[in-house]
């Protein structure tokens, strides 16, 4: 709220006639500019300020001679190419981080895609019956807590090859929250919808697509969102051990050749990619389950 100060009254003698002044035509645009300014001030400025402060602290803390970790300026000078050109190709093993992220994403796509399909189907079946739910839930709750890497030796033994093993680790990591959430979503389908389906005599397949999936979509997508986050955690860990050209192996490789600044850049890529994946699944979920809750 602003208070407009009233002008002190001028002497009434000076003005001979009224003058018509054209009003300025710009307030609209300046309003819009003001709105943009407000968005910047409220949404964009705070993270930028925090980031700058954190980078400054980091810079101050590690810029001394003989510090164990590189400072942000070192990262920029030593690993600039990784930051500025993500998609260079100099050889089969010497490629940009963008390519490496894409390679990892491909594995995640297989593992997570499989987990999503199997998880939703298994969750749908288990959620239908109280007895099955009681039987399976404790097992899922236990398996859910097993860290991704703990699955790796078993899967290496089973598949005898690193590529399917990595995919299996993603699958087995991501599937539990998907199953558990889908089952919960199926349990939460209102009896009204079941009655409608019963009166219409929808068969199992029709019930699945027309009632269950849309009704349980918010639950399913929160499971998928947790799952995709876990997949991304698992792929980095799995690649560090199984090799290949993914982003996880890149970190391991950089560590072995003491390129610490490269690792920091890779961490940045991983973080941003994970963030994008999470938002992507969240966004798809919102679009798909639009209208599910009145």
């Amino acid at each position: 709220m602003s208070v407009t100060a009233l002008k002190p009254k001028a002497a009434p003698v000076a003005k001979p006639s009224a003058q018509v002044l054209p009003l300025p035509v710009t307030p609209r645009r300046s309003n819009r500019a003001a709105a943009a300014g407000r968005v910047f001030a409220e949404r964009i400025a705070p993270p930028l300020v925090v980031l700058t402060v954190l980078l400054a602290i980091w810079q101050l803390a590690f810029s001394g001679v003989g510090s164990s970790l590189p400072a942000p300026s070192d990262v920029w000078t030593q690993s600039r190419e990784l930051i500025t050109s993500p998609f260079y190709v100099y050889g089969t093993q010497d490629i940009g981080l963008g390519w490496r992220v894409l390679t990892s994403l491909e594995r995640v796509a297989y593992g997570f895609g499989l987990a999503a399909v199997v998880g939703v189907l298994v969750g749908a079946v288990i959620g239908q019956s109280v007895l099955m739910m009681r039987g399976f839930d404790p097992i899922f709750q236990v398996l859910r807590t097993v860290p991704p890497l703990a699955w790796l030796p078993i899967s290496l033994a089973a598949f005898m090859d690193s590529r399917p093993s990595a995919i299996f680790v993603i699958f087995i990591t991501a599937i539990w929250p998907i199953i558990i959430n889908t089952a919960a979503g199926v349990r939460a389908i209102p009896q009204d919808y079941r009655n409608v389906a019963a009166v219409l005599r929808l068969n199992q397949v029709e019930f699945f697509w027309k009632i269950m999936v849309p009704s349980a979509a918010p639950y399913i997508f929160s499971g998928l969102r947790i799952g995709v986050g876990l997949s991304w955690l698992a792929i980095v860990a799995a690649e560090m051990l199984t090799g290949g050209v993914g982003i996880g192996f890149f970190i391991w490789d950089a560590w072995n050749s003491s390129r610490l600044t490269d690792i920091i850049v890779a961490l940045l890529y991983i973080g941003v990619t994970g963030f994008v994946l999470d938002r992507l699944v969240g966004w798809i979920g919102r679009v798909v389950s639009r209208g599910t809750s009145e």
Partner: protein, 264 residues
């Protein structure tokens, strides 16, 4: 023989060793085209009775026959208009009706015929203007209209209305009662309506089935309402037949079968 025959139906629920009889010895015969209201205090099992006719719950003993065939599973020949509309919120009004139409008439009607049939039923309840809206975007009365359209679109042998207007305000309720009377006059459907509104029961019904209090509720009295149709709620306000019927129902509910809260 009646169109719908409810013969010595008993419904019990067993929870562990304790068996509760909800409905006891229900006998009722309803003719084709008849409009029957079922009235009773809450908890008297009237909704259970409707669910039994719908096939959503199974009878314990006895039998329900519709048009010569035993009812033992739900089906589109006994369409239900649920109390809380039960429209699927992720589908538009049109798609909600279409789900029913394509399931019931998927093989019997062409796509164009199905479209016409959907619109015809939405017209019947005056909801074709909102065909592309989602249930969340329309009022409670409109949702109930769409629920009726969906039920009618199945071309059921019998239309079951489970306290369909219970959650609506008095004015909207009156509008929908008019709509139901008009549809009944136009299509001549057999209808059973659960209600706890005495005026509604008398206004709409050819016969009023009054239920005693549970547990082990049964039909206490059946009152024929011999008021010629079309009925007009304003004209009826002073109609001696209407007042007599109304009084009879009130006496049944509040004198002879007064609802005792702690009946158990």
């Amino acid at each position: 023989m009646g169109y719908l025959k409810i013969d010595r139906v008993v419904k019990t629920y067993a929870s562990g060793p304790k068996v509760t009889e909800v409905l006891s010895d229900i006998r009722l015969t309803i003719d084709k085209g008849e409009f029957v209201s079922i009235i009773g205090h809450s908890g008297c099992g009237k909704s259970t009775l409707l669910n039994l006719i719908a096939g959503l719950t199974q009878v314990t003993t006895g039998a329900i026959m519709l048009d010569g065939r035993e009812v033992n599973a739900p089906g589109p020949d006994r369409a239900v208009v649920f109390q809380n509309h039960s429209l699927l919120p992720w589908l538009t009004v049109y798609d909600n009706v279409r789900l029913a139409v394509s399931k019931v008439f998927g093989s019997k009607k062409t796509k164009a015929e199905r479209h016409d049939w959907i619109m015809q039923n939405l017209d019947l309840v005056q909801m074709s203007h909102a065909a592309d809206k989602r249930p969340g975007e329309i009022s409670g009365g409109m949702r109930q209209r769409v629920g009726i359209a969906r039920a009618l679109a199945m071309e059921p042998k019998i239309l079951l209305l489970d306290e369909p207007f219970g959650a609506l305000d008095a004015l909207t309720r009156a509008h929908l009662q008019e709509a139901v009377m008009e549809i009944h006059a136009r299509l001549g459907n057999t209808m059973i309506m659960i209600t706890h509104d005495v005026d509604e029961a008398v206004l709409l019904a050819d016969r009023i089935v009054m239920m005693t209090n549970g547990p082990a509720a049964t039909i206490g009295e059946v009152l024929p309402v011999n008021i010629p149709r079309p009925r007009n709620r304003i004209a009826l306000a002073a109609n001696p037949d209407y007042l007599r019927a109304r009084e009879a129902v009130l006496r049944f509910l509040y004198e002879r079968h007064r609802f005792v809260e702690a009946a158990e």
